[in-house]
Symmetry: C2
Subunit: 225 residues, 2 copies
DNA sequence: CTCGGTTTGTTCTCGCGTTCACAAACTCCT
DNA sequence: AGGAGTTTGTGAACGCGAGAACAAACCGAG
């Protein structure tokens, strides 16, 4: 046991053992549920309450939280604000994350106007578009700038996260440029598979895939009726 | 073998054995990759090629396709258009799916303007909003109508799929109304947990969760450096 | 017709995630 | 102080999905 200590501590001084991906994906949901409870004046909550608010099984919730540490009190529950802070710290939303959005069309404008960014620690530092006609525009109080400014902006603001909202054909090029100037996390809305180096994280949001999954189940319901 | 035939055929006359959820979620990706290949003039492709285009492992691809049936030819590969049709049929995108969008703000307008809907068999039959000021507007060639018209529209067009793009506070009410008038599949963009009956499918798209997941990994990268 | 080369469809194994169930730990009341 | 009632944290069982590996099936050449 004692000799294993180095292994546990290797990754980082403070906590940071490896949390399962499935759990990481749920932590933001718990965070939101805790914020809601806190706003309603709930200072303490049980795993049962919190699980209900988050829409998950209470056993799963407790197991997820156990990866972070022991922040609850048996027989009592969790202190809402304390747990909220611990999860926020673990995810990293206690700090400020600068973000660039590339492709300020229908979707890019909606994203720029989305207030849920700022309130969770993400700050849009630039809007970029390749179309010169758009460079006149101001969206959500931010100037739309030429895509060529990417390198400078990323350097000046130490941007690590980029959002792609261009047409599918341009997405790979944009991603390559992002990677080249040091961005290591990409959120991709274009319906295409991006090829990036291993150390770069890509998450994709694909609306039409979601609809097609719904259609599949809808079809099955109709068939069995 | 022979006696098992009834079991295979029980669920439905045409195919429709139960496909794993993980596979269902990937079928739309394969569909898109096949469309791309087909447009490039590729009439036949191996599992290796298709897997590369879809960004998955070739063994996983073959396993996924095996749930649909045996549509390939050993030693040759898959006929691009034939496989594409089979997947489209299995998902249900060979038919037309009427869709309503509720909440025509920043995001709702972007969705209404999204061409990827129509091209995959989804037809926006109505845009609904509670704000009377918006009822003057025309978005993407479609009139914005009062939310109260929901029941009539769902009845007239046999709508099964609804999209929610309202603020979080309104989302549960909108979902309740949708369920009450017969909608059985909901795509929810509001950052809230929806309570619906079991037979109703809900999928949620949550941008800020995606960003938070990226932030978590970004933080870990920074910590280990 | 046979044989070598190719690619599919499937079997098997392994690891991850979910869920159950319960001991440990805490509060409150008597 | 002690016991009843609550709730957490976790060990263990289970099921599903990922990937490796291989036999079966197909093509084409000779
Ligand atoms: N609109 C939606 O609701 C929606 C939903 C899901 C997915 N998507 C996807 O999101 C992407 C954007 O959709 P949209 O409706 O906003 O499209 P859009 O055409 O309205 O906007 C695309 C923008 O990207 C810019 N652009 C093109 N090439 C570029 C480049 N190389 N560098 C920088 N900017 C470039 C264009 O000038 C334009 O402003 C598309 O891939 C689309 O498939 C959109
Ligand atoms: N804008 C984005 O990029 C983005 C991204 C992710 C998630 N979201 C979420 O999507 C939702 C919509 O975002 P938005 O930026 O479009 O907001 P928005 O305020 O621009 O639009 C909301 C629209 O919903 C309408 N509405 C309100 N209550 C309604 C009701 N009961 N019935 C029908 N319509 C109603 C409003 O009139 C308004 O037009 C929000 O929940 C937001 O958190 C938005």
């Amino acid at each position: 046991m004692e000799t294993r200590h180095a292994v546990t501590a290797r990754t980082s001084p403070e906590s940071a053992r490896d949390i399962p991906e499935a759990t990481v994906a749920r932590l933001p949901i718990y965070l939101r549920a805790l914020t809601t409870l806190s706003e309603q004046g709930t200072s303490t909550c049980s795993s049962e309450e919190l699980a209900a608010a988050a829409g998950v099984n209470s056993a799963k919730l407790r197991k997820d939280l156990s990866y972070l540490g022991s922040y609850g009190t048996r027989g009592v529950g969790y202190d809402t604000d304390y747990l909220r802070y611990q999860i926020a710290r673990e995810i990293g939303v206690t700090q400020d994350w600068p973000v660039v959005i590339v492709g300020i069309g229908n979707l890019g404008q909606a994203l720029a106007n989305y207030s849920g960014f700022r309130s969770r620690g993400f700050r849009v530092v630039a809007l970029l578009d390749a179309d010169p006609a758009r460079h006149e525009e101001v969206v959500a109080g931010i100037d739309v700038r030429p895509f060529d400014h990417l390198e400078q902006i990323v350097r000046d603001h130490a941007v690590a996260i980029g959002v792609i909202a261009t047409p599918a054909l341009a997405a790979q090029d944009v991603a390559d440029r992002m990677v080249a100037c040091g961005i290591t996390s990409i959120l991709n809305f274009a319906p295409t598979v991006l090829n990036v180096p291993d150390q770069v994280d890509v998450r994709k949001v694909d609306l039409s895939i979601e609809l097609q999954i719904l259609a599949y189940h809808e079809q099955r319901k109709a068939a069995s009726a």
